[in-house]
Symmetry: C2
Subunit: 201 residues, 2 copies
């Protein structure tokens, strides 16, 4: 812990900012200073936006998306193809696919991928709920939009086996996804192509 120069309030703010992904201790200090200098233009609005988000953001009971309404905006959108469920590991992946305008369907957020080394098993993910949704008569296709990593592909195979008795086509993203790559870092064109060229498993 460096020497405190500016009182405990600022040190506390710096410590908390440093916990954000992408900000280390030094950039957290710069961010804190920037906030203090832009008190009216940035610090006050950010404080209010955080408070509003904290009070209103919830997890969608259907798909696991994060939104201020439950069911979420995606699940209640009547213009989406409700016969297709896109399975993602994380909300960040859902956001990435939406930014790419890659698909206009429903989602299902697993909350991670199977990872024996990290002790993450099927009971830690939202897999039962997915199987249940896949058995609804309206659902015709489940797209497994998972990372092209060992854990992602292990999870894809596990889910494919579970959906064997459901009346759905199970597809995965095309091999446009770089091996070892993570969805959230891909450009939008690659994501769109990977959705278009999805192949049956």
């Amino acid at each position: 812990m460096p020497k405190a120069v500016a009182g405990p309030e600022i040190e506390r703010l710096i410590q908390l900012l440093a916990k954000l992904p992408g900000l280390g201790p030094r950039s957290a200090r710069r961010a804190a200073l920037h906030l203090i200098k832009k008190r009216e233009q940035l610090m006050t609005p950010l404080t209010e936006a955080l408070g509003t988000a904290r009070d209103r953001i919830t997890v969608c009971g259907i798909c696991g998306n994060i939104d201020s309404q439950n069911p979420c905006t995606v699940c209640t959108d009547p213009k989406r193809d409700s016969s297709v469920i896109v399975v993602v590991a994380d909300v960040a992946d859902l956001w990435a696919l939406e930014r790419a305008n890659a698909v206009n369907a429903r989602y299902h957020v697993l909350g991670g991928t199977l990872s024996p080394l990290d002790g993450i098993g099927p009971q830690d993910l939202s897999i039962d709920a997915l199987v249940s949704r896949a058995h609804e008569p309206a659902v015709k296709e489940v797209i497994l939009a998972l990372n092209a990593t060992v854990d992602g592909q292990t999870t894809a195979h596990y889910i494919t086996d579970l959906l064997h008795n459901a009346n759905v086509t199970v597809t995965r993203l095309a091999h446009g996804v770089p091996v070892g790559g993570e969805l959230d870092y891909l450009d939008e064109g690659t994501l769109s192509a990977a959705i278009r060229q999805r192949t049956p498993i």
Copy 2:
């Protein structure tokens, strides 16, 4: 503006986070998601810390430091050598010198450097107040801890001229500071050495 997927509250939060130095639009989304997932451990404390900082942080009327008290912690510390004033362009530089434990004196924050190209003249900086402080009988030395850039050195020469009639020794940081470098990015050893080897102008 990418397609909104998660309601206006989250989009607003992402927009504001993206204005922090060090966070772009993509890392702001990751930061927002991290905050939402860590609602109790991080989002609530950060909201409160921002609110507290916003309400309590002020600018020191003597030196220009940012603190929750005025005069600031540095100016009211009886253990500091009040015969030495370290002149810095920005509060970030003050913090950097303090982190390095480079000097145990008072500071004076100019609020920038002279920059004819950017239209920043003496009237835009806290220079009159510095000259006034330098004429106090207790003050014996003014250390110009300014960036080794053209603007920083122009400012140093301008201040040196103004202090000609004051009964103080004007020094600058040793040339340990890399040419073109900015104080806030230097390691602590370099900053300490630069303070130790300061030379008369």
